[in-house]
């Protein structure tokens, strides 16, 4: 089967620091991939490269066989419209109410009337367990968990074929984290999307992912079923998932 997303030899440096050093990764259609790795190992850069927010130094990124790094700007914009993204801190727009945040992509892409967009966004908010009373609130008036749900609602609003989740449970208590994970799984399955999530939260990784990959030293060093993350004998994954101080991963405490 042809991968939905195929990444080959992806490299990216910021000044002297090499973040991605030849990443190869395949994500099959309709599957949920979880990428794990330490802080600063380039997980977010990887997702931002696929989204076109960061320009890689070398390598290729194919979606449905089309290299997204070489397509025209208009085609890249079309591609981006098929991708939903849940940012780590939600990245909700403070200056507009919740419903407009959710309907932002619909208003921008499909030019639907504002009244219809508001109605649609209330339906989508219901899918993530929020009622219509939050629609007219400002994002700043919501709790962290509710903001995450609104951000998820915004990400799924245009029924994207591909979804990215950047640390979806960061900053949430374990119960709210599990709720968000459940919503993510439901949304991805309902839409039949292909997804990539990056996380440090191993419980979340096992819940969300079908497959998992570990990013270390700028390369994918392990891939396997997400269910085996906690039992694999790969020493890098074993140390990381169990949070052991001793092992092959050395944290640079001082530069």
């Amino acid at each position: 089967m042809t991968p939905k997303i195929k990444i080959r030899g992806l490299k990216k440096s910021f000044g002297p620091k090499t973040v991605l050093d030849g990443v190869d990764l395949d994500v099959m259609p309709g599957t949920a991939m979880v990428v794990i790795g330490g802080s600063g190992t380039g997980k977010s850069v990887l997702i931002k490269s696929i989204l076109g927010l960061v320009t890689p130094d070398a390598g290729s990124i194919e979606i449905d066989g089309e290299d997204v790094l070489t397509v025209s700007r208009s085609r890249a914009k079309q591609r981006r419209a098929q991708i939903g993204m849940l940012f780590q801190a939600g990245a909700l727009f403070d200056s507009i109410p919740v419903w407009e945040n959710v309907a932002f992509g619909l208003l921008a892409e499909k030019k639907i009337p504002r009244k219809t967009a508001r109605h649609k966004s209330i339906e989508i908010l219901a899918q993530v367990g929020l009622d219509a009373t939050v629609a007219d609130l400002s994002p700043a008036e919501l709790s962290g968990g509710m903001q995450k749900r609104v951000a998820l609602a915004r990400a799924i609003a245009s029924s994207p074929k591909i979804m990215f989740f950047d640390e979806p449970t960061t900053g949430l208590d374990p119960i709210m984290g599990a709720v968000i994970d459940g919503l993510i799984v439901d949304c991805v399955k309902t839409l039949g999307s292909t997804s990539i999530a990056i996380t440090h939260d191993m419980a979340s990784a096992v819940r969300i992912g079908d497959t998992a990959a570990m990013l270390y030293n700028g390369k994918i060093t392990w891939t396997g079923p997400a269910a085996t993350l906690l039992t694999t004998d790969n020493p890098l994954v074993d140390q990381f998932t169990h949070g052991r101080r001793e092992g092959p991963i050395r944290m640079a405490l001082r530069k």
């Binding site: 931002k48 914009k77 981006r80 993204m85 940012f87």
Partner: protein, 261 residues
């Protein structure tokens, strides 16, 4: 390495950085202006920016203009009374306010208020991924965030300066008639008989340019900010300082270009 070569290398690096900065600013300004002229247009964003730059700056600009006009009348009197030229005070006040002080002081005040707010808002949006989120939602951040602010700056500043001109002249009038003993009618006749259309127009042209500069520097510094709260703070400071310096420098250039005898 040879210390002289080190010095030359440092100077070279600084020049290259400076040229790079100017190039980046020019591209940013051109892209923003192109966004003003080409669809999609965001009238709600323009309206919001007009409120931010224009309406909410009204109190501070009004007070600045009023007090400046009052001080100008007093100071002019001190000087002109020494050679019996008190009758020129009305002309000095109205010409100083409309041609020079109105646009420059309004520009500096708006830069400190709206320019700083703009840089802080866009800077926060940058460091909290909101600008990236716009891109993922099929929206060009330059068109959605920057172009409306540039347009609002160009529109709002001349409107503010019209009000500043009126209040500056009013301040001078109040001091002249209530404190310095001028006949109010004579003062007003003297004010308007010496005021020409191009005095006001040259001030408004300056105001439009200053409005563009304030919005440009606020947007540019905010848009490029990085590094969390400290980066946003630095962007805000940089926006105000750079806009203020550019306003003063451009004021001279524009005065030279619009100079009439």
């Amino acid at each position: 390495m040879n210390p002289i070569l080190n010095l030359i290398a440092a100077i070279g690096a600084a020049v290259l950085n400076g040229l790079g900065f100017i190039g980046e600013l020019a591209i940013f300004a051109a892209t923003g202006l192109l966004g003003v002229l080409t669809p999609p247009y965001y009238p709600r964003q323009v309206g919001r920016s007009l409120m931010e730059i224009g309406f909410y700056s009204l109190p501070v600009v009004s007070l600045t203009a009023l007090f400046t006009g009052m001080v100008l009348a007093l100071q002019s009197y001190t000087g002109f009374s020494r050679f019996n030229a008190e009758s020129a005070i009305a002309s000095v006040v109205v010409l100083s306010v409309t041609r020079e002080l109105g646009p420059v002081l309004a520009g500096l005040m708006v830069s400190g208020r709206a320019g700083a707010a703009m840089a802080a808002e866009l800077g926060t949006m940058r460091v909290t991924d909101q600008i990236d989120a716009l891109t993922t939602l099929s929206t060009d951040p330059m068109k959605y965030l920057v172009a409306p602010r540039l347009l609002a700056g160009i529109i709002a500043m001349p409107l503010l300066v019209v009000i500043a001109d009126i209040l500056g002249v009013l301040g001078g009038f109040l001091v002249a008639s209530l404190k310095l003993g001028f006949n109010p009618n004579t003062y007003l006749i003297s004010t308007f008989s010496n005021l020409r259309q191009d005095d006001v127009v040259s001030g408004l042209i300056k105001a439009a340019v200053f409005g563009f500069i304030i919005a440009l520097m606020g947007s540019f510094n905010g848009y490029r900010s990085k590094g969390g709260a400290q980066g946003v703070g630095a962007a805000t400071t940089s926006a105000v300082v750079s806009a203020s310096i550019l306003i003063l420098a451009l004021d001279y250039i524009l005065t030279q270009l619009l100079f009439t005898k």
